[in-house]
Symmetry: C2
Subunit: 334 residues, 2 copies
């Protein structure tokens, strides 16, 4: 700590109070969790070191770099998630940097070098990683999964209930009188794609409707162009759909464009619902019905879990599922 | 270097060849720049150390972390720029991580700590930073400006010619018969905003048209919502514009929405042109005429300049201006 700084480091406070750094951090940042004598000792140490509890105690960045891994910066879906994570990191005196990488067998050596080189103490992952790679990563650095997670491994995550969110939005389309609802999604290796398909199916089943496999499209990636072609094919075929539910707003935007090209009016001839509530969905004409994920909270919680894990590697792995919200807009409103 | 690795480090090659690391890196990565005896010695050293020149010589990440600073992840404009920079960094054996931060007096202490903590050797900045802060940053770490740059300071940058790009797109609107062209842009502290306004003015002047100050809007930030209100005001006023040129595709999307709300047909009643060619501009209905920036190349060149600067801090500061391209789409085509 620089001599002139007013801030004490967590380590100094811990040493003076005779408690662990983890405990100090809990007292400073999760007020109310630590009580009694331990709490009093930490507060006394903060005062002793020139700090104050009347206002937010400033904590020197404690040496921790956290890496937030994104598969791609193209998808604006992630910006608010990162913002949430950064808020948590900053609050605890940690730095957070973003790495854009598909983590797989090929890129893993580079990721490990990066962790080593930057002395990162934790990582949040957001995309699908094969279980063996994920396991190896988690044995190298504290790790929390955000959004996408592995259903088999015992690792911490923060995500949403894709199944009920999808069921909910398909039920909305059914309530609007639609009966031939097409579904566009991503590859089945993604948890989100499997669960959203399941939600779609459950809604149809409960409504007593037969599933038409020709209306289910699984694209190899979230691609606007591929999605336009798929939608065009369905719209130009016999017995076209009267609505689309898509597993991403990017797909939904493509369907709106395909409808425009094929001469369908949205929502009259064709209703369209997406997922994620990215900015584009409210900017499109017509604006697009979608599912809003609590993105800031997803990122914030993921980082909080990560810091807990860093401070106490032995705590059980938490698995948190957050609520979503259906946002009805012009593309499904008549 | 690990005993079993086939890759030699730049330092090892340099030591064996009796040249600087900078020279080794130039030979390996900018084939053709270094010639003659020096080149031969580096190649010999690579072979001696078990490497090969027949295929891409693998260089161990040399210990360098580069930080690419973005003001916000919200603007999808930056994703390709980062991709270009990352391609350059990886090619030279460097790591590149993204920091989301508005660098100013308040955040500067944290940025300096971050640089220190992560031992970053270089930084690319992309947004407006006040000259004193920028100068201080450049004295701490190798620095290159990308997109936004300070016109007064002697620091390296890679950017575009905003003036001629803007003049060009306004001339396109004039050629389409438009005479009351409104202009929406950002705050004048941004180089891009000043230059694009200048391009707009030059085009009007050369066409012999009077400038109407009521048609020029400078918003405090790139905000979709603010932009809708401004466009609505102009469209509902007496003597409304017959076209909009906006300094960002986000503004242009807002104008298209405002036109829709106010009952104007785009492009018949109102033409709209944006800037940046973000993905949204081609997804919108109608698709939006815009200026394409060579984004991958902007990022790539910025990182190349940065690595040159890291390898040889004494080379003169290069200032590179790249070409843009006018993309005509439905919003200005009748």
């Amino acid at each position: 700590m620089p001599k002139n700084s007013k801030a004490a480091t967590v380590a100094e406070i811990a040493a003076m109070a005779g408690v662990s750094s983890a405990t100090v951090s809990r007292v400073l940042n999760h007020k109310g969790i630590v009580k009694g004598d331990t709490y009093d000792r930490v507060v006394a140490a903060v005062h002793e070191l020139g700090g104050s509890f009347s206002e937010r105690t400033e904590v020197e960045p404690s040496g921790g770099l956290l890496i937030f891994n994104l598969p791609s910066l193209d998808n604006p879906f992630y910006s608010e998630i990162v913002r949430g994570a950064k808020t948590s990191a900053t609050r605890h005196g940690y730095h957070l940097l973003i790495n854009e990488e598909h983590i797989n067998r090929n890129t893993m050596p580079r990721v490990l070098k990066l962790l080593h080189k930057t002395r990162a103490v934790g990582m949040v992952t957001t995309n699908h990683i094969s279980p063996d790679i994920l396991q190896k990563l988690a044995s190298t650095v504290a790790l929390v999964q955000c959004c996408e997670y592995d259903e088999e491994l015992d690792l911490p995550y923060v995500s949403i209930d894709d199944l009920s969110a999808s069921k909910n939005i398909v039920e909305h389309l059914l309530a609007m009188g639609r009966r031939r609802i097409a579904f566009i999604s991503g590859p089945a290796r993604y948890k989100y794609a499997r669960h959203r398909l399941q939600g779609y199916r459950t809604a149809l089943q409960e409504a007593g409707l037969e599933e038409d496999p020709r209306l289910i499209v699984q694209l190899p990636e979230i691609s606007y162009d591929l999605s336009i072609s798929s939608a065009m094919q369905l719209l130009n075929a016999d017995n076209p759909p009267d609505a689309f539910f898509t597993a991403s707003d990017v797909y939904a935007a493509a369907v709106v464009r395909a409808a425009y090209l094929a001469g369908y009016r949205v929502p009259q001839d064709l209703m369209v619902a997406g997922f994620d509530n990215i900015e584009f969905s409210s900017m499109a004409i017509p604006s697009i019905t979608t599912v809003s994920q609590p993105r800031t909270q997803l990122g914030f919680m993921a980082c909080e879990l990560l810091l807990e894990k860093i401070m106490d590697p032995d705590i059980p792995n938490k698995k948190i599922v957050l609520e979503t919200e259906l946002i009805v807009r012009e593309s499904t409103a008549i």
